[in-house]
Amino acid sequence: MSAREAMRKSLLGATLLAVAAAVGVAIVAYTFEHTAPQIRENEREVLLATLNEVLPANEYDNALVDDAITVTDPEMLGTTQPVTVYRAFRGGEPVAALFTSVAPDGYSGEIRLLVGVRADGRLSGVRVLAHKETPGLGDPIEIRRSDWITSFDGRALGDPPLERWKVRRDGGVFDQFTGATITPRAVVKAVRNTLIYFERHREELFAQ
């Protein structure tokens, strides 16, 4: 094969590849354009549904999904990343702050939580957003597996007293599960730390 011919062949191949890439990008771009609004809508709905599990929709009147601030406190919120806090108001008065806190010390990695704290410092509810705990052992922290997570409802920093904010095995008031102590221990600690954070920063959190 002469050098000219080889050159021609590689150019042809390169052109083909470029055309294929362009067509591929066009297909993806076209699909993206047509699905993007629906996808954004879906994501908002999923987020809002999750937030409303922790704080019922009739308790606030602002656009909860849009009223988000980020705060960073690796020690109390469990992650070096900024943590999103959704703020609920009613008639301009603070109702609750919903923290996307992290329990860093789960049995297999981080447990991502949504912790709803009312303006008076009581918990409106807690939900697990994502976790990698062992199915069947650690996953009763999910609301669809057990109602354990609702045992936080209405609790506050002084209720139970701070030294009893632990699982039973550690002398606290919260149940652990058969065969799994590490998972609930991590969740209890993360919720307690979130409450401590809220206590310390209440004013700034609700500042407009």
Partner: protein, 230 residues
């Protein structure tokens, strides 16, 4: 390569060279997503759609793509299709999309797809290639659904749990508590090892059926041939 008939292609995809049971391709999603019927059906259909589309497109361009850049072009075609399907699922089957998660984009790496593209679609007329993609996809879906049914039944005692993710809110009622609402569940079937055991059982069953068929056929043909030989 001879051009096979549609009947042959169908039998091939669903049974004789079934991707999941004979070629043993695409086992990663097969094992990972087959924990319930609905998850299995969702990923199976998405894979079948990609397989159909990629076989179709690759057969269309088969005479224009130089051999040297063949594989990269195939990969581009497959990746674009998968991304488009991922976006569509995200938009219109959002709950299912959330459950299947990473396994939708990972369809790109499913060896069945590039395998069929390279070994079949790149040498066959468009209609035959497209039909082969469909048959192979359905074969893969069938194995996924049977394995999903097995694991869901043994692991959770239900069938069709979560059907509303695919078929709309009305389908929530499709869930069947086969083993009663107070079935304690069998964790092993839900965990990955359960998928291996289940697939092993299916493989054994297929081989057993094939062996029975093979044992039945020669004795028959022998009976017919005997007089001729005699």
């Amino acid at each position: 390569m001879n051009i096979p008939g549609y009947g042959n292609l169908l039998v091939n995809g669903l049974w004789t060279s079934n991707p999941g049971l004979v070629q043993l391709l695409g086992l990663c999603p097969l094992l990972a997503v087959s924990s319930t019927v609905v998850n299995a059906l969702g990923l199976g259909l998405a894979t079948a759609l990609v397989l159909f589309g990629s076989n179709l497109v690759i057969s269309l361009v088969r005479n224009h793509v130089a051999d040297e850049v063949r594989i990269p072009v195939f990969v581009l075609v497959i990746a674009s299709l998968v991304t488009a399907i991922e976006l569509v699922m995200n938009a219109y089957f959002h709950d299912l999309y959330l459950v299947l998660g990473i396994f939708i984009p990972l369809i790109v790496t499913n060896c069945i797809i590039i395998g069929r593209a390279e070994a079949f679609a790149s040498k066959m007329p468009v209609r035959v290639a497209a039909f082969d993609g469909l048959a192979m996809g359905l074969g893969f879906t069938a194995v996924l659904v049977v394995l999903g049914g097995l694991r869901e039944l043994v692991g959770r005692g239900t069938l069709l749990d979560g059907a509303e993710m695919m078929f709309g809110p009305a389908a929530a009622a499709w869930r069947i508590d086969v083993l009663g609402a107070d079935y304690p569940g069998f964790l092993l079937a839900v965990l990955p090892p359960g998928a291996f055991f289940g697939l092993g059982l299916l493989l054994a069953m297929k081989n057993w059926i094939d062996a029975r068929l093979a044992a039945a056929v020669p004795s028959q043909s022998a009976a017919i041939e005997e007089p001729v030989a005699g």
